[in-house]
Each structure stands twice: as C-alpha cells, then as structure tokens.
C-alpha cells in the first residue's frame, strides 16, 4: 500500500525576530523567522533533512528536490543532494522549481514513481527566499527544509487520493534578474488569487472523495501568511483544532517547504486512523488525502524548534550577501581546481576516506588528496572505501580563530577524532563559542565552504551534537 514511509525536517538554528527588524527600520515587528546560516542554502538544508528522513531505511530509487531558490540556475541540485546522501548512481534525480507548489508537485511525482514500480522515492522541499530589506516580505519569509519518503511498504500514512489544478495567476514572482520576491497588490492577490484557489482545491478534493470537514482530523495547507491561513479554515467549516499550525510566527513562511513541513509536523503529532487533508499552493494547487497508520518515532517539530539562536540584523545582511564587507587582509585562497575536485569527488560529496585492509586504520587525507599509502602501516593501495560523513566524533583540540575569513566570526577549527577511528582537521559550524571544549561530541554536516569563480564549494564541517 503506497504512502509516506518516513519524514525528516531541518530548521536552521538561527532566528531573526520581527522586533530586531523593527528596531532597524523603526516599525513594529512580531514573531520571528528561521534564517539559514551563512554556510547553508537549500542544497545543504535538503541534505540534512534527507539524511534524517532516510536514516535506517533502504535507499530510495528517486530523489526529487523542490525549491524556488536553487543555488544554480543551470546545474542540478538533486544530483548534489543525492551525492551527499551517498545514493546509488542509478537513483533518478530531478529538480522541481519555479513555483511555491514545487514541494507538493514533487510529492505527486514521487507517488507516480512508486506506483510505477520504484521501491521508494524521496522528496526534499526547501527554500531560502529573500524579501527586500525594509519591505513587507523581509519579515515574512523564513528558511527551512523537509524531506518526505514515499514507498509501498510499512507506511506511516497511506495516500488515499490526490487532486490538482493549475491556475495562471501573477501573485508572487521573480524573473531571472530579480534578487528579491516581487508581488502584486496585497488584497488583490489574496482575494482573487490565493483564497479562491485554496478554497476550491480543498472543497473539490473533499467532494471528489465524498468527504466532509468532519472526516478529517487535520487540514494542512499553505497560506501566504497566518491571516490568510485562518481565513481559509474558517470559510470551509473546519474547527480551529483541526487546522495544523503553519508555524509562521516561529519560522516564517518557508515557501516551497512550508506546506510539506506542516505535513511533517502533523504526522509527528498524529494518531493512527487520523485522516489528513493536505494542500500546497502556487500557480494552482495540489491536494492529497492521507490516512495515518502510525506516528513516526524520533524527533518532533517542537524538538527542532526549541534550540535556537537569535542573530542581529547586521549578521543577517552579511550572511545573505546584502552588505559588502571589507575583504580580509589574509592572502586569498586560490580558487579550487575542477579537475582536482573531480579526483576527490567521493570525499567531497559524502566524505569517503579509506580503511586499510592490512591494519584496519580508517583514514582521511587532511588535504583531500587520495590516500595511496597507509599512514599507519605503509601498505600501498590496499584500502576499502570508508565513509566518515555518518560517523560521530569528539573534538580533540581546537582553535578559536579571529583571522578566519568567515561571515560568522570568530571561526572555529578543530581536530576531530571519529568514533571508530580516523581523524580530520576541519571547520566547525553552528557552535556556541563559550560552550566549545576538548572532548565535545560532534557530527558531520554538509555545508557551503566558499564560492569562487561562480562555483559553490560544498564540503563537510563538524558541528556540536545538541
């Protein structure tokens, strides 16, 4: 029976409060939004969500990446995500982009793939949309990712039905030249765009399957903001308790990730037998009807939302490249070489090193050059591949570096000893400087290292296990 077999989510730990934005522009702000770290984007957040979702399960045969903010205009992101997740080369990868509905459309495509015989397919939905400083979207838009696995066995929730409409309507858009979100006049796009479309998809879906509001434990749907969300729910006769919290006050409107993320939260709180009506919006609507079989074990959305760090407006500007800062006086790093990166592609994408067949020592060359001679026993070319990205470790020693060119100073670098053997000198991220200590447990996280000559260099950093 086809359904959702696993879920995962990634909310960056940083928050920008409406109050902080209000302080900047002398306006009134409320709530807060999740902000991706300076070294994160929709690819890195998708990797984090996908790894959580896939943990302990057989690898999916398709990975679909959905977003409106893919880092590259030409170059597939799904492929980078699949590589970081160490999926088999036969895994089908595709990007679903350009619409807020990308997440739900990718879910329908995954559903089709499984119906057509794939054992499972994973969808990541993520976004990092930017509102222009001082504008109405600045406060509204947040960053996050989630991942949903569709499979044919052992479902958390069966998919009972689906329904889609497309509708050409210009409410929000970005041309290839736009940095910030553009939109039509507020009441017009709400009254003539979002509200009628969302009401229509929800009521037509119920009609199609001969169901009414009372048949659903939860209704989970996208809205541009909390007000629009409440208005739709009221209009269709759903009780307040049936409506899934959109989390807009806590993390903002996370674009293509918003509705799928609400679904993840709903599933994590659901009881077996619950029926869920779920709808995404953007240039039309996609809807799904789900029947809960069991609640996923593990973290809930509440767990993910409790650990947070508030940043100031200046950091936000710098992290999002909205403010030019002085170049460091240290010598510039030479740009990475494409051919050199290619030779160590296994290490770059999923942190593969080697394990000596003779002496069993796991090793990862600190400078990324492929190990040919065992550093322990000098055996030559007698290794098996050994993955470090999924290993935890401990911080053996560290330096808090004021000179490191980072957008979140001070930089932290350390020597990480992996549980099970092997050592790596690397950058750390998402740390509280005052809590860093020798012996601190860490895990690996896929991050953006630098961007030179237009190429984004992704690699692994260590971060404290919280």
């Amino acid at each position: 029976m086809i359904g959702i077999t696993s879920v995962g989510a990634y909310i960056p730990r940083y928050r920008l409060s409406g109050e902080e934005i209000g302080r900047m522009w002398r306006t009134r702000g409320k709530g807060e939004k999740a902000v991706a770290g300076y070294d994160e984007d929709t690819i890195t957040m998708s990797v984090a969500a996908a790894l959580e979702c896939m943990k302990g399960l057989p690898a999916p045969e398709a990975l679909y990446y959905a977003t409106t903010t893919a880092p590259y205009r030409e170059k597939q992101a799904a492929c980078i995500v699949a590589g970081a997740c160490d999926l088999d080369k036969t895994c089908r990868t595709a990007d679903f982009t350009n619409t807020l509905r990308a997440g739900t459309t990718a879910l329908l495509a995954a559903l089709d793939a499984v119906k057509a015989g794939a054992s499972s397919a994973i969808v990541t939905a993520s976004d990092c949309r930017l509102g222009a400083p001082m504008g109405r979207f600045e406060q509204a838009l947040g960053d996050a990712a989630c991942a949903i696995m569709i499979g044919s066995t052992d479902a958390l929730a069966r998919i009972e039905g689906s329904y889609s409409i497309f509708r050409e309507f210009s409410d929000v858009w970005r041309t290839s030249k736009d940095h910030f979100l553009q939109s039509g006049e507020g009441r017009f796009i709400e009254e003539m765009g979002y509200l009628p479309a969302m009401r229509e998809i929800l009521s037509d879906t119920m009609k199609k399957y001969s169901l009414g509001p009372a048949d659903f434990a939860k209704v989970v749907f996208y809205a541009p903001d909390a007000r629009g969300h409440a208005s739709v729910a009221r209009g269709l006769g759903f009780d307040k308790t049936q409506v899934q919290d959109p989390m807009y006050d806590a993390i903002g409107n996370t674009g293509a990730a918003a509705a799928p993320l609400m679904l993840v939260a709903a599933l994590e709180e659901a009881s077996p037998g619950d029926r869920i009506l779920f709808a995404g919006y953007g240039d039309g609507c996609d809807a799904l009807i789900l029947r809960v079989e069991k609640r996923p074990s593990g973290r809930t959305m509440r767990d993910r939302l409790t650990k947070k760090v508030h940043i100031d407006y200046g950091s936000y500007l710098v992290w999002r490249d909205l403010l030019e800062v002085e170049r460091p006086s240290l010598p510039e790093r030479p740009a990475p070489s494409l051919s050199s990166r290619w030779r160590i592609r296994d290490t770059l994408s999923s942190l593969y090193g080697f394990k000596c067949r003779k002496c069993g020592t796991p090793q990862l060359h600190p400078l990324g050059q492929i190990v040919r001679v065992c550093v322990e026993c000098q055996a030559k070319d007698d290794f098996e591949r050994y993955k470090f990205s999924d290993k935890t470790g401990k911080l053996f020693t560290y330096a808090i570096d004021m000179l490191q060119p980072t957008k979140n100073p001070p930089g932290l670098n350390g020597v990480v000893d992996f549980d099970g053997g092997g050592r790596m000198i690397c950058e750390l991220t998402d740390y509280d400087v005052e809590k860093v200590h020798v012996g601190m447990p860490v895990q690996m996280t896929f991050r953006k290292m630098s961007q030179e000559k237009g190429i984004i260099n992704y690699f692994w950093k260590a971060k404290p296990i919280e």
């Binding site: 990475p336 160590i344 050059q369 001679v373 322990e376 020693t397 570096d401 992996f418």
Partner: protein
C-alpha cells in the same frame, strides 16, 4: 615514540666549517627589494670571511615565495657556477645550508654559499600563503588547512597542552606571555631585529586574541630579510679565520602528516622535532642537551611552539616546560639561553631566511661577538626550525660548535 630507523651517525660532524656569515636588518624593509636583501646579506658574509664572490664555487638559495629557480640569485653577479633554489617551508634557510654543507662534505667543492631570502611585505597582506598547490584542500582550494589561519594551526597545541597538563586559562596565557616577554627582552638588545621594544607579561596577556589561546604577542612578525653563510671544508677553515664555526650535526625529519590523520597523535609534542633532534644529537655526540648545549635558537613562530620545542629537544622534561619558564631558565641570565637575538617573535620571520638568521646568531655567540646578548663561554649551539605545523611538519635541527672534536 617510534624507533628512528637507521642513519649514518657522525656523517657530517667536523667535516664542514662556516667561515663567514651575513644577515640583513629584518623588518618592514620598504626600501629594499629581494636583490637588495640578497646583496646585503651575501656581501656581509663575503667580507666577514675575507673572500671574494669569485671564490664561491657553488650556491644554494632558500626562498619560499620570493623567487623561482637559481635565477633569483642573479643580482649577486656570480659567474656560471652551479646554483640551486631549495624550498622546505619554514625550514628553507636550513635546507639551503644542508645543500651547501653536503656539497663541501662530499668533496665536490671547497667553498659554497648558502643564502636565504624572503620579501613578504610586498604582498600587502597579513600572514603568508600556504604551500600553493592547487587542490590542496578538501574543498579543492589551496591555503593553510581548510580555511584556517597559521595561528589557528598552532593554537591546537596550546588548547591541548593546557588540557593535558591541567593548566587553566590564566596560567596558560601567563606561561606563553613569559616566552614573548623574554624574546622581546632579547630583541631589544639587537639592532637588526624587527621589533626592539620590551613588553610586560600583563601587556601580552591582555593583547587581542588572534586564535585562542594565542594572542598578538604569541605570534611572530611577518618580515623581510636575508641571511647568508659561507661554508668550506673544515680542514681549510683556519686559512680564512682563527675562529671558524664547525657543523656538528644536521638533521631534517619530515612526516607523512601522521598527526593530522591518526587519532594517536597527542598535540603536545611534535614527532618531527623529536626525530630531527635525536639524529642531530647523535651526530654531534650530545648526550644531555640541557647541559651540553650552550644556547639555542628555536622556531618560535608562535609562543606555544617554542614551549613544545623545549620538551621535544630535551631541554625540559615532558610537561615540565612550565617550571623552566617560571624559573627563567631560557633567558639570557638562565642556564640555557634561547632565542638570544629575539627569535622569530622579534627578529622577524622571512621564511627562507630564518634558518640562516638563527645560525647567524649562534655563529656570533660562538665567536663571542654577540655584544650585550653574549652568552658566557658557549661551546655548542643549536638552531631549530619547524616547517608546516603540528601533525604535518618538517623538523630541522642544526648543531654547531667552536672547536674541533678530538679524534677518539
């Protein structure tokens, strides 16, 4: 500690003598280019040895960033002799000496020039680049480590040393500060040093942090400079001067980055230093370095590295550097004065020149010509470099003396 493997002991002892040395003033030499620095150091050495440039039969140039190939030596006007450029990171100057000394010891020439130079301040940048190999880093770029600075790569030693020996933050900072205070005191007596100011422990402790636990005064200067040595067969030395200096031991040890890759490495010692030291001591016949070495120049690129080196070279017992620092053992008044010319901290650190600059000070000390910094009756002196960093380095030790050993 692993066994050192086999090597030929005493292969260099007393075979080569240094008969002349030169060293420029180090610092921000806006007035001088690479050519000026080379000429300044080489001609001081020629004059000191009482020889002419045409007497030199071969030359080795050490530089990391300031020129490719032997053509960098063109400004000296040497005439069609064999010349070679060598590079071994911060051990580059000592590597040039090795080339020249081995050529003389092998009998392929009677007199050779070793010269090191670095012109860092023309870059307009702070600090130095890493070994510039494309694709050196995990993300495919080339610089020191994965984006971290040189101070950070040495700060690892500090963090771990304090942790292992249960030294709290304040005491640790004070310990490192005392090393900087000593080197500034020594530098203040040296007109060729980059920094000639004295500082207090309080100043050093309160200075801005560069890479915790290292502050501003824990980091050496980025300087321009050059230094040169003229070496001849030991048997010829007295023809040139009455007080030649003899090479007693000379060793380089380069690792395979074991420390960065193997969990066993402790970050409170540096194997490359230990191996280089043991080999050089064996060649020189030194059994008790603390007693037999009269004075030394060690690689204090960062104060913690000087501290670790005390222990690696057997000047202090393991974990015992603290007592010796507090007792002032390595000051000019102590029993083993270290970095008598101010060290890398105050004399400055033009990479390719540093090994030979250290040798210059030891040469002057052994000749009794170190002026206000003179150590009493020195017999054996030592220079030490560490290229690279902890866990992935090149250790180099040279031992020199002012008398020939009696043949047993």
């Amino acid at each position: 500690m692993k066994s050192m493997g086999s090597f030929a002991v005493e292969s260099i002892r007393d075979k080569v003598a240094i008969i002349g040395m030169g060293c420029t003033r180090f610092g921000e030499r806006w007035d001088a280019g690479v050519e000026d620095l080379l000429v300044e150091a080489a001609y001081e050495a020629f004059e000191d040895a009482g020889v002419a440039p045409k007497d030199v039969q071969a030359a080795w140039l050490g530089t990391v960033f300031s020129g490719m190939s032997a053509m960098t030596l063109s400004p000296l006007g040497l005439q069609f002799i064999p010349m070679t450029r060598v590079e071994n990171m911060c051990a580059t100057g000592s590597e040039a000496l090795r080339g020249a000394a081995y050529a003389v010891a092998a009998g392929v020439c009677d007199m050779a020039l070793a010269i090191g130079v670095e012109k860092l301040k023309d870059s307009g940048l702070t600090g130095v680049r890493g070994p510039a190999v494309v694709g050196d880093n995990p993300d495919g770029s080339a610089c020191i480590g994965s984006g971290y600075s040189a101070p950070a790569s040495f700060a690892y030693l500090g963090t771990r040393y304090f942790h292992q020996y249960r030294i709290d933050r304040d005491e640790g900072k004070e310990l490192l500060a005392k090393i900087a205070v000593k080197n500034h005191q020594h530098g203040s007596l040296n007109p060729k040093a980059h920094f000639q100011n004295v500082i207090t422990v309080e100043q050093a402790v309160k200075a801005p942090i560069v890479a915790w636990p290292l502050g501003l005064f824990d980091c050496c200067g980025v300087s321009d400079g050059a230094a040169a040595a003229i070496v001849v067969r030991a048997a010829m030395a007295k023809n040139f001067r009455s007080d030649p200096i003899y090479i007693k031991g000379m060793a380089i040890s380069a690792g395979a980055r074991q420390g960065s890759m193997r969990s066993g490495y402790d970050y409170v010692h540096i194997d490359e230093n230990v191996f280089a030291g043991q080999q050089a001591y064996a060649q020189a016949g030194v059994k008790n370095p603390r007693k037999e070495i009269s004075c030394a120049e060690v690689h204090d690129c960062f104060s913690i590295n000087e501290l670790i080196t005390y222990e690696d070279l057997g000047f202090s017992r393991r974990g015992g550097a603290k007592e010796d620092i507090h007792a002032g053992a390595f000051t000019l008044q102590g029993d083993l004065p270290i970095n008598t010319d101010g060290g890398l901290k105050c004399f400055g650190h033009p990479l390719g020149a540093s090994g030979l600059r250290m040798l210059y000070e030891m040469y002057k000390q052994l000749q009794g010509k170190a002026g206000p910094r003179q150590v009493k009756n020195p017999r054996l002196a030592l220079t030490h470099n560490l290229g690279g960093n902890a866990g992935a380095g090149i250790g180099c030790v040279v031992i020199v003396g002012n008398e020939l050993n009696k043949k047993p």
